[in-house]
Symmetry: C2
Subunit: 336 residues, 2 copies
DNA sequence: TTGAAAGCGGTACCAT
DNA sequence: ATGGTACCGCTTTCAA
């Protein structure tokens, strides 16, 4: 059933039906009611494809994130959930595109076939070909994360440098002198993954500032890798008394490694880092950490994108968040 | 740039371009090459909206799941991830719809506006108005989960009754006589959420069969609720020596509650249940559990849907999975 | 082997 | 206040 059918039954023209429904032109109260009645009776809804073709807008936004391979981190998934809900609140649908690079078929479809009005990019790298590609095209998009030269772009990001530094200072203030850094997998670091780089950077600088002895590690995104990583840490320097991690998926494994090594948290060993609070609260003792406000970030990204879609010439805006460290139960004075 | 532009530059008609690209009609090798060259030069890709309008297919599938409110469980999110990737492998895009009931705007859009060719439904209830709605319309869909009368439908599900029963038998075999059941939140149970119902059912029947003393609890989807729930369990019956849970989000809290109560797992208390293996491996000691093969289920759902889309008259098919219990480290003999 | 043209289902301009 | 119609960009039938 199409708009012509409605027009016929209501005894008016197709354009009148269109206007009655969109309100873009005054329609006499009488005919409007008649049309509405037919519409209700038949449960008519205009075809999204036809409408998109006619007015050049799809009312859909694309959400681009790398294929997980094995599994997604909790943080990624929190982003997805919050983006979808925020978009629904604005009557936008969300099309998912598992694309890590701009050559992915799904990414090409999204843009080339004009399936979406704008895009939100997740898992940003410092040099990100997807972001560059979109910028070059002038395609409306917002990044969750911050590229190396993002000052003039649209994004919502976390100041990972500051967050990692804050974790170091927290441990240093508690008297820890020998600490480790547990990063995301080496492959992500090498490919220029933003949080891994900036986090490592912030950790290293802050530790140097405080004159700490440090070791840094990459670690797979799973508990088994976390456990193995912790064993290496204690093997490499048994005097280590604390660690900072960005790797929430490994967190459970890190704790398990500590337990196996007979180190009590937080009495013998302090753990902190940057993770979504869902994970911070899952482990025992609960993790003192800079909580990633994933839900808020997703919402902000949608708001930014909707704003940008509404005013194509608006100057770039962004949100750079620095959530505070939530004191929970996983850190304590060194050598207590 | 559109197909007309390509036609002009290649010196052929629009239909020839269309056929050259789709291969639905023979085109002389010579013109085909000429067209392809223009296409490559200009990076032409046909508009998805126009194509959808013309041939009535969107090459998009809808993924319907309830809005999270607070946050998604790991299992839900694993489903989403695997569905998206499986769909991408078949060159389908995935449109997300956060809809718990068939009156949700987003759900209406998906169907009414014909945005998708088919749909995958998550978080099935025994009586599910979304599933009924789709069935009535004859709209191609596949459920992840099994309604009360699903025998003749398209779905991929877990035999929660059998899984919960298996957990009970596992504990009973180890000599446990007084055990508890930690279900999903009461609101989900009341609304007829499938896994909560069938799981409770399987637990209750199996426990009766084995003559066990049981108590059943509903528990919020978060660590704090898990901890509170465990306190209630030990308060209600301090002699309880084991529990079965479907609530992965509460798992960390259950463990914490046990630790606080001074019960060592698995020496003093055994824990088991039905959860995604990511969670089972995160906690220490790792959870002996029936692992929910979320990734496989998402893939199967997509396969089923693609099959159904290809052959509209195909008879309903389904997969009812009964994953085995993975023995890890959270259960042990009673009173050891 | 190729072209012309009629849809697909809307929107919006130009008339009346 | 309403109607007629061109157009959005592609697919597919019909003709040549």
């Amino acid at each position: 059933m199409n708009i012509g059918e409605i027009a016929r039954r209501a005894g008016v023209s197709r354009s009148t039906v269109s206007y009655a429904l969109s309100g873009k032109r005054p329609v006499s109260e009488d005919t409007r009611r008649r049309i509405q009645q037919v519409v209700d009776e038949l449960g008519y809804q205009p075809s999204a494809s036809a409408r998109a073709l006619a007015n050049g807008r799809t009312s859909t936004i694309g959400l681009v994130f790398p294929p997980a391979g094995n599994h997604y981190t909790g943080m990624q998934l929190d982003f997805i959930g919050s983006v979808v809900e925020a978009a629904a609140a604005c009557d936008y649908d969300v099309l998912l595109s598992p694309s890590g690079v701009d050559s992915d078929r799904s990414f090409q479809r999204l843009l080339g076939e004009r399936r979406v009005d704008g895009a939100i990019l997740m898992e940003i790298r410092l040099e990100d070909d997807r972001a560059d590609h979109l910028a070059r095209l002038g395609f409306p998009s917002v990044a969750i994360g911050r590229t190396a030269h993002a000052e003039d772009g649209w994004f919502v990001g976390l100041d990972h440098t500051a967050l990692a530094a804050a974790c170091v200072h927290h441990l240093a203030d508690l008297g820890h002198r020998r600490i480790a850094f547990v990063n995301r997998p080496e492959q992500l670091l090498r490919s220029g993954y933003e949080s891994a780089h900036r986090g490592l950077d912030g950790f290293t600088k802050a530790a140097a500032e405080r004159g700490l002895t440090v070791r840094t590690y990459c670690c797979g995104d799973d508990p088994a890798s976390g456990q193995a990583c912790l064993e290496r840490i204690l093997h490499d320097d048994p005097a280590t008394t604390g660690l900072v991690t960005l790797n929430e998926a490994a967190l459970g494994g890190l704790y398990r490694g500590l337990a196996h090594a007979g180190r009590h948290v937080p009495r013998d060993f302090s753990v902190t880092g940057v993770v979504a609070n869902r994970w911070a609260e899952t482990v025992t003792p609960q993790l003192t950490a800079a909580d990633v406000p994933a839900a808020e970030m997703g919402r902000l990204a949608v708001d930014l994108l909707v704003e940008r879609l509404g005013r194509p010439e608006a100057p770039p805006r962004h949100h750079l968040l620095v959530p505070p460290i939530s004191l929970r139960a996983s850190t304590g004075p060194a050598g207590a």
